[in-house]
Symmetry: C3
Subunit: 106 residues, 3 copies
């Protein structure tokens, strides 16, 4: 099995959790925030059997989208002068697939 | 070493954290919620040496128990008509054992 | 790539997140609390390419420091009589380096 760790935009979390439930994929949501924009986002962890990994990745991909966000002014002050603009793209989802030695309910 | 990630029912977290402390096992608690019932639960992470893995699993097993919970009405509306009943079993603990390349205090 | 999981004292989290940003290292902060002192702390997760692992560890090491903390009185009551004193050292950072099979933005 694998543990998927997916960081998604706060506005995508609800829809994505519902889509995972409908696909009968189990998930736990952790409260989190981004290091750069410091805004609240959502970190989801999903333990999946190997053979359902690509299906889970597809559900995540279809239910999280990129957004252009403005960088808070107080962050800009500290930036290098070379910083090209005042916007960044947040999302789809940033996903890590971790190997799991054991997954069980005890 | 290994990293144990254990998702337990909110009502078990306090007792389990105390039992781990008494066994001199280190643990960090993350705020979390379940994808299905959307209720607050607890995700514990424990870094353990290989030789203490089975002891840690035993402490988790002895301090978390299954509960029958009713599924919130608004979730039932969206269910397939084939959904057998209005209750689910939550817990014991859902546990993932992850391999760790390095564990240290810096 | 690797996933670094670093548990740091609550007072170090802000400075460390800023130092990671300046080093152009991406990070997500999870709300957490310690199993022993039950005080709020911070759990940071960083996905890094293999070749930036030692740089990330260095930024963490330079931005988190050890502190001597007193153990809350109500914890002492339950301790073994052999407990040597009423203080513990919290920190630097407790760090786990996990292998990652896949890291991508979808
Ligand atoms: N040093 C930097 N310089 C220039 N631009 C920067 C930057 N750090 C972040 N950004 C930009 O800002 C967006 C939000 O980052 P934040 O750290 O708030 O929120 C991040 C963070 O919480 C998480 N994340 C992304 N990559 C990560 C990684 N390698 N490790 C841990 N968390 C990561 O996913 C969220 C969204 O990331 P995403 O890449 O879609 O979107 C990022 C990226 O486009
Ligand atoms: N593979 C996995 N990956 C990540 N996290 C996992 C996981 N398996 C379990 N969890 C976490 O553990 C909690 C308890 O799961 P358990 O299977 O005991 O108890 C579950 C299960 O009996 C049932 N359930 C969950 N999803 C279901 C589904 N799609 N269909 C039917 N029953 C479901 O509802 C209970 C509560 O689920 P909820 O999601 O609120 O809360 C879950 C979730 O937060
Ligand atoms: N292997 C591991 N797995 C998961 N999380 C880990 C971990 N090792 C450390 N942590 C996390 O890092 C925090 C600081 O740990 P540290 O060892 O620096 O500082 C610790 C340590 O000096 C001491 N301590 C913890 N457990 C102890 C025990 N059973 N007996 C004696 N001292 C203990 O109290 C300080 C605060 O502990 P607290 O639990 O509140 O907070 C811990 C915990 O959240």
């Amino acid at each position: 099995s694998k543990l998927i760790v997916a960081v998604v935009h706060g506005d995508d979390a609800g829809r994505l959790v519902n889509a995972l439930r409908e696909a009968d994929l189990r998930v736990t949501q952790l409260q989190s925030s981004g290091g750069f924009l410091k805004a609240r986002n959502a970190t989801l962890i999903l333990g999946v059997e190997d053979e359902r990994l690509s299906e889970a990745m597809q559900v995540i991909e279809e239910n999280s989208r990129a957004r252009t966000l403005s960088v808070p002014l107080e962050l800009l002050g500290g930036m290098e002068a070379s910083w090209p603009g005042t916007e960044v793209v947040h999302g789809g989802a940033t996903v890590f697939v971790l190997p799991v030695e054991e997954m069980r309910r005890i």
